[in-house]
């Protein structure tokens, strides 16, 4: 096992420490997770799976709580 993981965020390659959650990867990439109903950028907030602010598209699946998902090599993440 290596100590970093490579994934893409909105198509751009990113390396994060192994064990990092997707919400952390998005924060490192400087990306908000989603655009709110009224158009505001939103990022992770509670970081414990409750608030749903960290929703993003993970490997094609929309509305995933990225704070509860650990990054894997080759993962494709897109903001919503």
């Amino acid at each position: 096992m290596t100590d970093t993981v490579r994934l893409t965020v909105n198509g751009r390659a990113l390396t994060v420490p192994a064990g990092a959650t997707v919400a952390v990867a998005l924060a490192i990439a400087g990306a908000a997770c989603r655009t709110s109903v009224s158009g505001e950028p939103r990022a992770a907030f509670c970081a414990m799976g409750i608030c749903f602010e960290c929703r993003a598209i993970v490997d094609g699946g929309p509305h995933q709580r990225t704070c509860q998902i650990v990054c894997r090599d080759g993962m494709e993440v897109r903001t919503e």
Partner: protein, 377 residues
């Protein structure tokens, strides 16, 4: 009758519509609601404004209602989420296509525009439907709205026409021009309109109304997954199951991008709890028609009760036992649609105005025997 005061009981969509119509016609209206506007069946309903043709009377009432909603549409605030997305009735096979053609003819004769879609047309209209379906009938004039806000809007219209609205005001009894509130005080009026929905029978005993439970599931936002309100015509295959528990595929796109998935009908269950067995059956049906739906995220499930009459038509008009009490209830699964026409027919009768459609099929008097004996369960 020098009927110039009216008390309307219940600020569901039906009572709210009646209050708005009567106040607009110049009556001094008081609208009484035990909770807040639109929090009972109106909050549970799908909000599909739909023309239906189970009977000529149902077709006449729903068609008139849809026209009234169309007239109102320009004044509806954005929060009512009125969206003329149209209805798409889905046919699985040739037998159901025959029903498409029958419906097309019936609707056409009534002046309701429809369009027959073949398999390719259906697929183009709704790419997420299963392959191999035979076709469908598109009713482009049907619409969708958000019922609780629509009810509140109608309450506000009533108030703007000088009606008095009292929320959190439960009624204990209503008879002989007198409404007694649960706090013991009483109000008097020339006419009392019982629009208490499925609870109307508690105020006017002997009504031929049964509660018919329904379940709905709401999804997260998936804009574009479906574009029209989708309803299966599959009921043809089990036409005699009018009284049994039943489910049908019914999928509604909301303007938010969410979808409402229905629907179920149960007579025997009076608890508001979610019944997993029914939900499962509903979803299996949905996956049959829209195979991708299983992957979507569901946010919530809820239940509600329809006020069902034996002939599936509402009760609009004077009650039998007490000429001061009028009824506006029994709308089963169509009360959002038919609220406006109900208000219109009721006001026309009260004021002696002509109505655009015949009022007889909806008069409570048609159940004379049931009401006299109070024998209905």
């Amino acid at each position: 009758m020098a009927a110039r005061d009216a008390i309307v009981i219940g600020a569901g969509i039906v009572g709210a519509a009646c209050a708005a119509e009567l106040a607009h016609a110049g009556l001094r209206v008081t609208l009484l609601e035990q909770a807040q506007p639109g929090t009972d069946a109106t909050a549970a309903g799908m909000g599909h404004i739909v023309v239906m043709d189970d009977s000529p009377a149902q077709l006449a009432l729903t068609h008139l209602s849809r026209q009234l909603w169309d007239n109102l549409a320009p004044s509806l605030p954005d929060t009512v989420e009125f969206d003329r997305c149209g209805t798409l009735w889905i046919a699985q096979d040739e037998e159901e296509m025959a029903e498409v053609h029958r419906k097309h003819a019936t609707y056409g004769a009534a002046g309701v525009e429809t369009e027959i879609l073949d398999a390719a047309g259906l697929h183009a209209a709704e790419p997420n439907l299963a392959a191999g379906l035979a076709g469908g009938l598109l009713v482009p004039g049907d619409a969708v709205l958000y019922p609780p806000v629509a009810a509140r809007f109608l309450v506000e219209r009533a108030v703007a026409s000088s009606a008095k609205f009292l929320a959190d005001t439960p009624v204990a009894s209503a008879q002989n021009h007198t409404v007694t509130l649960r706090d013991g005080s009483s109000l008097h009026a020339d006419v009392i309109v019982n629009a208490a929905g499925a609870s109307a029978g508690q105020l006017t005993p002997g009504l031929p109304i049964r509660k018919r439970k329904g379940h709905l599931v709401i999804t997260d936002r998936y804009p574009g997954f479906c574009r029209h309100q989708l309803i299966e015509l599959g009921y043809l295959k089990s036409a005699h199951s009018v009284s049994a528990d039943s489910v049908a595929f019914n999928l509604q796109p909301r303007r938010t991008g969410q979808m409402l998935l229905g629907s179920s009908r149960q007579y025997t269950d009076e608890s508001s709890a979610v019944d997993g067995r029914i939900v499962q059956a509903m979803i299996e049906r949905a996956e049959h028609y829209a195979p991708g739906i299983g992957a979507l995220s569901a946010l919530r499930i809820w239940t509600g009760f329809r006020a069902a009459t034996p002939d599936k038509l509402p009760l609009i008009g004077p009650s039998l036992a007490d000429a001061s009490v009028w009824l506006a209830t029994g709308h089963e699964g169509l009360g959002i649609t038919t609220s406006l026409a109900t208000a219109r027919l009721l006001a026309d009768q009260l004021l002696g105005r002509p109505s655009p459609i015949a009022a007889e099929p909806y008069l409570p008097a048609r159940f004379e025997n049931a009401q006299k004996t109070g024998a209905h369960d």
